[in-house]
Amino acid sequence: MAMSFRCDDSLVQLYVEGALEPAERLLVGAHIRICRACQQGAAAYKALLWDLEHPEPEAAELPAAQLQALSDRLMEAWEQGGTGQAPGRTPARAIWDFSSLWLRSVPVMLGSAPARRREQPVAKQQEPDGWMTRVGHGLGRLLVKGVRRR
């Protein structure tokens, strides 16, 4: 059956989603009851949304060995304070990581910021970055932009 002007696929989708206002819902529902094409559409969208909302858990499984290797790399990054590097990183990325590492270390050396590995009260660790870190991050961004332009 071809769509008449009363048929509106977007309204059928919203009807199935339960995203219509009550008055619209009544009208669209009344139309669906008498229109075979929209009945088919509503049934198909209902099945589609069900399948989308209940994906099979193993759909994107990764071999355990690869996940373990990733965990190991991330734990190393944690030990280094989050400066681990992604594989295949760009030169800009390398400079950024280096600047972050250096800038993170300066306030620690000067005793103006808590070191990650030291046991500290939570509130102390939530303090915003110091001015040196902010200036340093700005320099890091400039370096990254410079590399990107090249």
Binding site: A2, L48, L49, P55, M75, W78, G84, A86, V122, P128
Partner: protein, 180 residues
């Protein structure tokens, strides 16, 4: 204390076992979400690594008491969006759809019969969607976000997200019905 609170507390005190527990609880989930967005195993693996590196940097300022998954999901969405936007070729299908140049198969949805499809066909059809359309579908229907939340998460106007969702679902229905 909930699992999330306990993980966060340990991480914020610099304890490696906290981060190990974070990975145990969320690494697979982040990978699966990244994979669902980019549909490429190696890229998803790299992006998962990037998500957790960012989480390490953001952990000290994370507010205790809040659940970790919405935060990790937001980072995952941002990292995957950056990845997709850094490779214009990946978004060429989105751009073609925005210009109204949909690939073949755009039959009248009313003509598509209701049939059963299997999970593999659904996965394959999702894979053929333009990346940003697929991301909107996943955030809406697998993460259960509202239209507003999807728009905010993807940094797109609400109307654009509604259009993406309408067209993506219509395309999925037509493709799956045609295959069944």
């Amino acid at each position: 204390m909930s699992d999330d609170e306990s993980i966060l507390d340990l991480c914020q005190r610099g304890r490696p076992e906290g981060f190990a527990r974070l990975l145990l609880a969320y690494q697979k989930r982040v990978y699966q979400r990244a994979y669902s967005f980019v549909r490429h195993r190696e890229d998803a693996l790299d992006l998962t690594q990037e998500v957790f590196l960012r989480s390490i940097r953001g952990m000290p300022s994370f507010t205790p008491g809040r659940p970790l998954w919405p935060w990790l999901r937001r980072i995952t969405t941002n990292v995957c969006l950056n990845h997709l936007r850094s490779k214009p070729a990946l978004l060429s299908l989105d751009q073609a759809w925005e210009r109204g140049e949909e690939p073949a198969g755009g039959e009248d949805p009313a003509e598509a019969a209701v049939v059963a499809w299997n999970r593999e066909q659904l996965q394959a059809a999702l894979e053929r969607l333009p990346p940003l359309h697929r991301m909107a579908v996943i955030l809406r229907h697998q993460e259960g976000l509202s239209y507003d939340e999807v728009a905010r998460g993807m940094d797109l106007p609400l109307g654009t997200v509604k259009t993406y969702l309408f067209r993506a679902r219509q395309k999925l229905r037509i493709e799956l019905s045609a295959q069944g």
